[in-house]
């Protein structure tokens, strides 16, 4: 069985990187100009090419070939990256290469070699191992549940709120529950078996630990008999839909469950006229595409085969190029809300600039995360929006913190809160 996180499976991809920087620049068709022309947060923050995807690939290759060894700078290079996947979609616009898998696998190698992850990641992993949540919180995970939220004991759909909405951004979980109630959709939760999806463990490269979490969570879900998992968090969404099957070397289609984000549920109903908004919201807002369900939202497609002359793959591989991510659904919803003036930022959809919080950056490099969030908020300002709406609790949190720290007077919302306020 192929190990999708073994860097030796990606030496071709590293070697055939051609330095075109499709991974760094916004798609030239959408290029907005000099300002906001770069979509890789890491290379926008640290300008040396070592902090760009193609630089990382060359550095990783140098490590594999013994030309360099692990150093503190090497670890910074590998971990000062949100794993936001902007590079991956950009590269695959023209080429059949896998830069994101390279970046992830280099982290896995660092952990296997006893050099990674960063201390802050180890702490988060320890919290998850000991308390079942990334914060190490001792409280029950179900603290978000209000009396007026109807949760079934048995249903075909499980709501998986994730750590952030369970402990920090509880309003998102509460809104999700109420929206599902209003839509008349029965749902259950994993009850006292609900724990972290393992996203921070997987992205920090701790593959064995992440696999164990995956197996446990999949078994828990199966035991409920439910076939659909709904999330309100882009990271959980991606973990169940992409990371679990990728770690277990399986097609998502063979995992035996469906994963949907709340916006997919609501947009379908909205487009069918079965969900309407009765209250207006008078704001000018920009929608921020969360990386993990937008350009990285396509389900994992397993491939195993050989590479022959001219680099031809047998059998043919189906690439996840970021084309079919969740882009339009949130826009469809927001466009239906009276008074909400939805504007696009220069970097949008597959070219969106990450909020800064992903890939373990918020834990290990909080200054960098805040810088990236601030950079994104200047983009919100550039289109004269007063608010930014995302579909991931981590984006909301880091945006609000950055706005406050810089007196930017921009409010960040989660889309669930907007839906709730207007229904």
């Amino acid at each position: 069985m192929k190990d999708n996180y073994d860097i030796n499976n990606y030496t071709y991809d590293m070697d055939r990187c051609i330095g075109c920087k499709g991974c760094v620049w916004v798609d030239h068709v959408y290029m907005p100009g000099v300002r906001y022309g770069v979509k890789c947060p890491s290379n926008a923050y640290k300008l040396f090419d070592g902090y760009a995807p193609m630089g990382r690939e060359k550095i990783g290759k140098a490590l594999l070939e013994g030309r360099i060894d692990y150093t503190p700078e090497y670890l910074d290079v590998m971990y000062m990256c949100q794993l936001c996947g902007a590079c991956d979609a950009g590269c695959k616009r023209n080429l059949d290469l896998e830069p994101l898998s390279v970046l992830e696998s280099l982290r896995v190698k660092a952990v296997k070699d006893g050099k990674g992850p960063m201390p802050a990641h180890k702490k988060v992993a320890q919290n998850i191992a000991e308390k079942g949540n990334r914060y190490g919180a001792a409280e029950k995970r179900s603290g978000w549940i209000t009396k007026d939220t109807k949760i079934s004991d048995k249903a075909d759909m499980v709501y998986f709120p994730g750590c952030s909405a369970s402990y920090v951004e509880k309003g998102i979980a509460q809104a999700t529950g109420k929206i599902l109630n209003k839509a008349g959709i029965n749902f259950m939760t994993l009850g006292d078996k609900d724990t972290c999806c393992g996203h921070p463990v997987a992205t920090s490269g701790m593959l064995d630990e992440a696999k164990a979490i995956a197996r446990k969570n999949i078994d828990i879900l199966k035991a409920t008999g439910a076939t659909t998992l709904v999330t309100s968090c882009a990271e959980c969404y991606n973990t169940w839909k992409v990371i679990y099957p990728k770690m277990l070397s399986k097609n998502f289609a063979d995992m035996g469950y469906q994963v949907i984000h709340l916006v997919e549920v609501v947009s379908k109903l909205v487009n069918e006229g079965k969900f309407t908004f009765s209250k207006p919201m008078n704001i000018r807002a920009a929608y921020h595409d969360p990386c993990r369900m937008a350009r990285q939202g396509e389900p994992w497609v397993e491939w195993e085969g050989t590479r022959g002359q001219w680099g031809i793959l047998t059998p043919k591989k189906e690439y996840r190029r970021g084309t079919f991510g969740v882009y339009q659904q949130p826009r469809d919803i927001l466009n239906k809300i009276q008074g909400l003036d939805l504007v696009e930022m220069p970097r949008m959809k597959e070219n969106a600039f990450c909020c800064g919080a992903g890939g373990g950056v918020m834990d290990a490099y909080p200054d960098f995360a805040m810088w990236a969030a601030t950079e994104r908020l200047t983009e919100v300002q550039s289109v004269a929006a007063e608010a930014v709406i995302s579909a991931c609790p981590y984006c909301k949190k880091v945006f609000n913190e950055a706005s406050k720290a810089n007196n930017m007077n921009i409010k960040a919302y989660d889309i669930t809160e907007i839906i709730l306020a207007c229904m």
Binding site: C20, H28, V29, L47, F48, G50, N94, D96, W310, G311
Partner: protein, 536 residues
């Protein structure tokens, strides 16, 4: 290893510690293996990591760095967007000047020009220009290349049919000479207002580049004023999600592509002359067959399914596609007029108009040169001849006859005689001969692709009397073509000796190939390198 500590410290004082590093992990990101020349012998065997990478912000900072390099005799490599392996150091202990922070862009709408720092790339300039009803020539090399680096070195694209070759579009600039002295050229020699292009006295723009430039071997250009040309004012609308993104043409008839299938290669050449004589059109190019198959493919395997067919093999001699772009610069009526003229010309050759998408994702703002690697994982062009188009076609057909001896390791392109187009309203022809190979080091006879690139093609050019501009930087300097002969090399040597006697500006460019072939054992040096081509 490394450069003197004092030199490092002095540069650090200039740019600040955040913008300089000698970290050898970061240095690995700058070892080459990118852009044009990737996977050639030079890329694999000569490129070394730099000792220091420095990111200057201003002309003054560049001057300071070059003065230090000059004082300590440290080799340096200027690099703007790294789309050619000449940006990688070939000497140990070199400094790379990564110029990406120098991304100031000023548009002078009234005088139709832009002043660019080397960190500005074409799609950025094109966005600003199109917004204002103007445009520039995005080179085929890609939207991601530096406006400055491309204008001073190369600069080819079908858009040059109307806009002229890039040397003519440089109005002025700031040029830090190899020793750090600042030279202002063109109309920027007297003021900051470059609208016209001429300065008093002899014009030193010709020293910066003739047909082709110095590839970093003559200091650093820190600012360039380039012409913008009038476009239509309806804009282009970006649509789609990656990888299917494109610029949709406006509904008003202000810009149109036309793909004609010509009955013969001769008629393809002849119609180009006629279109030029009629002084219509904005771009005019042949479409090589493998590009059509790339455009249809969703992935490499799709390409090969299409290419490994008799239909593809036959297409080389049976299908001749002429792609024409018309722009109604002034009005829809202009486009309608040009369309009538174009149709008359094409009818007279019995051309058939094929289905053509009215959008652009390959020449105006986006240019996907990366897709050249899609077929085999390695690519380079060996010949860029600028002459008449029939001369180019003759050369291309000749090379196509010789190429089978080098195939494999080169990919079999069934005798495709290259990509040709006309520039400057038909006054200039252009051909580029492209090769693709599998760079897997286990391939047998892989060295033969270098023999073909560095030796065989330039030798044939010299024998056939073709001016191959590539020879200026991609083959031994002696093989510069009969028409221009060894004198061209001497000019390079004299100018270099005058301005950079210590050879610290991107050494050994432009003599890197000479140095490389001298070292390797598969070259017959007597025949190829040491022959006196001036004697024919």
């Amino acid at each position: 290893m490394g450069i003197p500590q004092e030199a490092y410290k002095a540069m650090e004082d200039i740019v600040g510690s955040q913008y300089i590093t000698d970290d050898q992990v970061i240095a690995q990101a700058y070892v080459g293996r990118l852009g044009h020349g990737k996977d050639t012998g030079i890329d694999l065997e000569m490129n070394v990591p730099p000792a220091v990478i420095v990111l200057p912000r201003t002309t003054k900072e560049v001057q300071g760095i070059l003065k230090i390099a000059h004082r300590y005799k440290i080799n340096y490599v200027p690099a703007s967007s790294f789309w050619i392996s000449h940006c990688a150091p070939k000497r140990p202990n070199s400094i790379v000047l990564d110029l990406k922070r120098m991304n100031d862009l000023e548009i002078d709408e009234e005088n139709m020009c832009a002043i660019c720092g080397p960190g500005v790339i074409f799609s950025q300039l094109q966005e600003e220009a199109i917004k204002r009803g103007m445009y520039t020539t995005t080179p085929g090399g890609g939207s991601q290349v530096s406006v400055v680096a491309n204008h001073i070195n190369w600069g080819l694209s079908p858009l040059n049919y109307r806009n002229g070759v890039p040397g003519r579009r440089v109005l002025g600039g700031e040029w830090v000479l190899p020793d750090g002295e600042l030279l202002r050229i063109g109309s920027m020699s007297t003021s900051d207002d470059p609208f016209w292009g001429e300065g008093p006295g002899p014009d030193l723009r010709g020293l910066l580049r003739g047909w082709i430039g110095w590839f970093g071997a003559m200091g650093v250009v820190t600012k360039l004023a380039v012409k913008l040309l009038p476009f239509h004012d309806e804009g282009l609308k970006p649509v789609g999600i990656s990888p299917h993104t494109t610029l949709q043409f406006p509904e008003k008839k202000r810009i149109r592509w036309y793909n004609f299938v010509m009955p013969t290669r001769e008629s393809l050449v002849e119609c180009m002359y006629d279109i030029g004589k009629a002084e219509i059109a904005a771009a005019l190019t042949k479409v090589p067959q493998q590009w059509r198959y790339i455009a249809k493919a969703g992935c490499r395997e799709d390409f090969w399914e299409g290419w490994n067919t008799n239909e593809a093999r036959k297409s080389i001699n049976n299908i001749h596609i002429c792609r024409v772009m018309l722009v109604g610069y002034a009005s829809e009526e202009q486009l309608e007029y040009e369309e009538r003229v174009l149709m008359d010309i094409m009818d007279s050759y019995g051309a058939k108009l094929g289905r053509t998408r009215q959008s652009d994702n390959s020449w105006i703002k986006n240019a996907d040169s990366a897709t050249m690697w899609m077929m085999t994982g390695a690519y380079t062009s060996v010949q860029v001849t600028v002459d008449t188009v029939d001369c180019g076609v003759k050369g291309g057909e000749g090379l196509a006859r010789e190429k089978p001896a080098f195939t494999p390791p080169l990919m079999d392109d069934y005798g495709e005689p290259g990509w040709f187009q006309v520039s400057e309203i038909g006054h200039m022809g252009y051909i580029e001969f492209l090769q693709y190979w599998d760079p897997n080091p286990n391939q047998e006879n892989l060295y033969k692709k270098d023999e073909w690139n560095y030796i065989k093609v330039p030798t044939l050019d010299a024998e056939w009397g073709m001016f191959n501009a590539f020879n200026m930087y991609a083959s031994p300097m002696n093989l510069t073509g009969k028409a221009y002969g060894p004198e061209c090399r001497k000019w390079f040597e004299k100018v270099k000796a005058e301005f950079d006697p210590d050879k610290i500006s991107n050494d050994p460019i432009p003599w890197d190939v000479d140095e490389y072939v001298d070292k390797v054992d598969w070259v017959n040096k007597e025949d190829y390198i040491n022959r006196d081509w001036s004697k024919g």
